[in-house]
Amino acid sequence: MEFGFTTAAYVVAAVLFILSLGGLSGQESAKRAVWYGIVGMGLAVFATLIGPGSGLWLLSVVLIAAGGTIGYYVAQKVQMTEMPQLVAAMHSLVGLAAVFVGYNAHFELGNVMAMDQAAREGLEGFAALLAHKSSVEVNILKVELALGVWIGAVTFTGSVIAYGKLAGKVSSAATKLPGGHALNAGAAIISLLCLIWYFSSGGFLPLLILTLMALFIGYHLIMGIGGADMPVVVSMLNSYSGWAAAAIGFSLGNDLLIVVGALVGSSGAILSYIMCKAMNRSFISVILGGFGGTAGPAMEVEGEQVAIDAEGVAQALDEADSIIIIPGYGMAVAQAQQSVSELTKRLRAQGKEVRFAIHPVAGRLPGHMNVLLAEAKVPYDIVMEMDEINDDFPETDVAIVIGSNDIVNPAAQEDPNSPIAGMPVLECWKAKQVFVSKRGQGTGYSGIENPLFFKENTRMFYGDAKQSLDTLLTLIK
């Protein structure tokens, strides 16, 4: 089959991918955008199968079908609340695939280099491409390949750890091995040395050590990042997987891989940047792992937490005209979004103004709450961003905090020694009354005490968010 056709298909696929990302600017156009992505991917795979990747095509098709079946099954089965874990897990697959493809390129390179001129002429596919490279090009190829493997390996372990943290299988606290940043730096230096070694020798050993170092960096980097920063981590890993693909694309000389890898890489980077800005956190300090030490002791919290029962909440809601609901990760954990939606529906039917305030980093993924509320059929035009709604709290009768903690922590504004000082938060304590639905008296993901719970206009509505809301629903007609 002509390679010209493949190239044409690649161009079309690249355009489709760009449209697919750009289409996500609106809820309605996003639905169409996904189809662009799917068609683009199908076209790319098809063009490769009949073109440069036609060897053993049957095996390829079978493997894709098998993988696809598993992917389909998992995606169907997964709960919306488990989305963050799933995305992280999938990133690890991409990372690992990048490592393998990089290794393959290395082996091929070795094979081709060993051949004599005559044998080279007879090669096909990827090997043929390698055969025609000059020595400078081969050197560049080595760098690209090592880079692809390195980034892929970091993505792999990083994603696995991120998955573990999100799924609750690894402690979400920021932990570091003794040595901290020095270990990361050491591993990075060893990687660099290996790169030079590999560059001069071309052997497999330096590549292997490089990979191990990268695996360690990925592990240690993500272990050192606290749970509250997970949204940034996930989008950052997303970005890494894109760069890995781009690097591999360079070594394979495949433009589509380069284009798509660069698209994914830059989009993930921007997303991370946007989120860091929303949290008032330095982008660099987040990616390098660490909340940043704070000077001085945190402010003492005075007062006590006052509990309230469902009757009290129901009565206050009955009297209120305007209500703002602030959902957080706790709502996702308790699967309470359906109950929240039902509550919203009933309150709206009574002519009350009900709105949702979404903090940019609520939940464990950017836009996590939007997705959950959308799943529960909460209309998206009453779901507001922080900037849109923060000024409205003083005129609000009741603010209901459902399973969020750090994003409504007044310490961010009041206590300069707080680890989250300066992070923009939802100023729910300015509402006339605040109810906090919470499992117990524990602290939030970042492990910080929340003065909101001790404020005079705050009442604690203890219990599992879903059970609490269901009790509440029986009292509100």
């Binding site: 996500l24 493809v101 090669l123 090997a127 998206y380």
Partner: protein, 524 residues
């Protein structure tokens, strides 16, 4: 110096400009006080009360005018009185300088200093001597009382054994001092009170007094009352029509109408037309506080109470404060006393007529043989202007264009710098790297650029779908594996096969999850 107060000569005027209490205070400022015999009788202050307060009783008006250096009185002085002035005398009184040119000329020719109490500017510092407000307050209160006196029913609604009584409905037009006083009185008597004013910013004050503000369905940039010193200004014809239409709608419903609409130095606007009067129920009452300036209702007869053919009582009295002479005199005398305090900074009984002082300058209409009316605008704004809510929109087109140009230039500068640095880097790479690499590298740079451009536009709530989609797309790595699977050794095939398998999971899983998420977004 001696302050003297003559008996008011105007027919039916009961007030007096000095009370025994105010006299005591004036004496503390170092003044001697004198009063014409019988001046306070109608307001309930006997000569003996004054004497007890240390005030000299003077038998005749002529003697008082001669003796006193400062004359304080209530009503605008007549010709006889003005002729008694000379250049050593100061007169403090209502003067109506806008409509009293002869009086001004006469006072000027006599060389006397005249302070007109109605000219006291409406600034915070001068409120204690603002006689218009203190009199208006009384007028507003009295207007409701007069209305109640002529209204055959209760103000409050009651349910009694003898039947149900509906509450009275009162409409107050003009929410100035008099209007607000009327609103307060009316609501405390239990009536349902509606109020209207051309200045929408007073709605809050009206509501704070317990009345309901009547809004017009009318869009116009009504002048902020603060620009006219807190008084209402003339309205456009369209606005007037909308206003009258609203009143016409209300007329059959209301039992009592109290109009207080006055525009400074103009005839009172007609707000309650004959057809509105005709539409009112028999027994209804209209109190026209603007009667002196022609009335807000053209049927009003000044100083009289009339009953129309359909049984509506229209009260046009102009002397409401005088009808409550004791209260009015106390307040007015206090206003005068405060004015004297300002005029006597040393408290030594000597007037210092400081023409640099905003309040004194504003109130002085003749000074040392000159007419000083009208005064220049006060240096201090009467009422703080309302904060401009849409300040950015106030920019003139030129300013806007300038700002845009500046922003555009800054943006251009930033972009050019970035491009220059980027191009330099690219060229640097191009110098050392082989052509085949550059080919791919340019594609890479362009793709990164496109990615940056595209992602900024993605809406916040779609960040999770974006991540899922990019995750799915990043499994494009499958292409690499596909290309390798067909060639080389067993190890290569194995690794490539594994890669294809994993990427396959990712492609299907990623896209499916994205679709699931997006399918949920829906509008209400």
């Amino acid at each position: 110096m001696k302050i003297g107060t003559p008996k008011e000569v105007f027919d039916g005027e009961n007030r007096v400009a000095m009370t025994p209490d105010s006299a005591k205070q004036l004496q503390k400022l170092g003044y001697e006080c004198a009063i014409e015999s019988g001046a306070g009788v109608k307001a309930g202050f006997a000569d003996a009360d004054y004497e007890a307060a240390g005030v000299e009783i003077v038998k005749t008006a002529a003697a008082l005018w001669k003796e006193a250096d400062v004359i304080a009185k209530v009503r605008q002085p007549n010709e006889t009185e003005l002729k008694r002035l000379n250049k050593n005398k100061t007169l403090i009184s209502f003067f109506n300088p806008g409509g009293n040119e002869e009086g001004l000329e006469l006072a000027k020719s006599k060389g006397a200093n005249v302070i007109a109490m109605e000219m006291v500017p409406r600034i915070s510092r001068a409120q204690k001597m603002d006689a218009l407000s203190s009199m208006a307050n009384i007028a507003g209160y009295r207007a409701v009382i007069e209305a109640g006196n002529n209204f055959g029913r209760f103000f409050t609604g009651q349910i009694t054994a003898a039947g149900k009584v509906p509450p009275a409905k009162v409409l107050v037009v003009g929410a100035g001092v008099a209007g607000l006083a009327a609103i307060g009185t009316s609501t405390s008597l239990g009536a349902i009170t509606l109020a209207f004013d051309v200045r929408p910013e007073v709605a809050e004050q009206v509501e704070s007094m317990g009345a309901e503000f009547v809004y017009l369905d009318f869009e116009e940039d009504t002048a902020d009352g603060s620009s006219t010193g807190g008084y209402a200004s003339v309205q456009s014809d369209e606005f007037r029509e909308a206003q009258l239409a609203k009143f016409r709608e209300l007329a059959p419903d209301v039992d009592i109408v109290i109009t207080t609409a006055l525009i400074p130095n103009r005839e009172a606007p007609e707000l309650w037309t004959k057809d509105m009067v005709d539409a009112m129920k028999p027994g209804s009452v209209i109190v026209d506080l603007a009667a002196e300036k022609g009335g807000n209702c053209k049927l009003t007869v000044p100083d009289e109470k009339i009953v129309t053919d359909n049984g509506v009582t229209i009260i046009g009295y102009t002397d409401f404060p005088s009808r409550m002479a004791a209260q009015a005199s106390t307040l007015y005398a206090t206003n005068i006393r405060h004015m004297m305090t300002d005029l006597t900074p040393e408290k030594d009984g000597q007037i210092v007529h400081d023409m640099e002082d905003d309040v004194i300058r504003g109130a002085t209409v003749t000074h040392q043989g000159e007419i000083t009316f009208p005064p220049p605008p006060p240096k201090v704004q009467a009422i703080a202007a309302q904060p401009k809510k849409e300040a950015p929109k106030e920019l003139t087109p030129e300013e806007k264009r300038a700002a845009e140009t500046a922003a555009f230039k800054a943006q251009t500068k930033q972009q050019v710098t970035l491009l220059a640095v980027g191009a330099a880097l690219l060229l640097g790479v191009g110098l050392v790297a082989p052509a085949s690499f550059m080919q791919h590298f340019i594609v890479f740079v362009l793709a990164v650029f496109v990615g940056f451009q595209v992602i900024w536009g993605v809406s916040h709530s779609l960040h999770t779908p974006l991540m899922a989609v990019t995750n799915a797309i990043s499994s494009i790595i499958i292409l690499g594996a596909l290309m390798q699977i067909g060639s080389g050794s067993f190890l290569v095939i194995l690794l490539a096969a594994l890669s294809v398998f994993m990427a396959g999971i990712n492609i299907f899983g990623g896209f499916l999850v994205t679709r699931r998420m997006l399918a949920m977004f829906q509008k209400s």
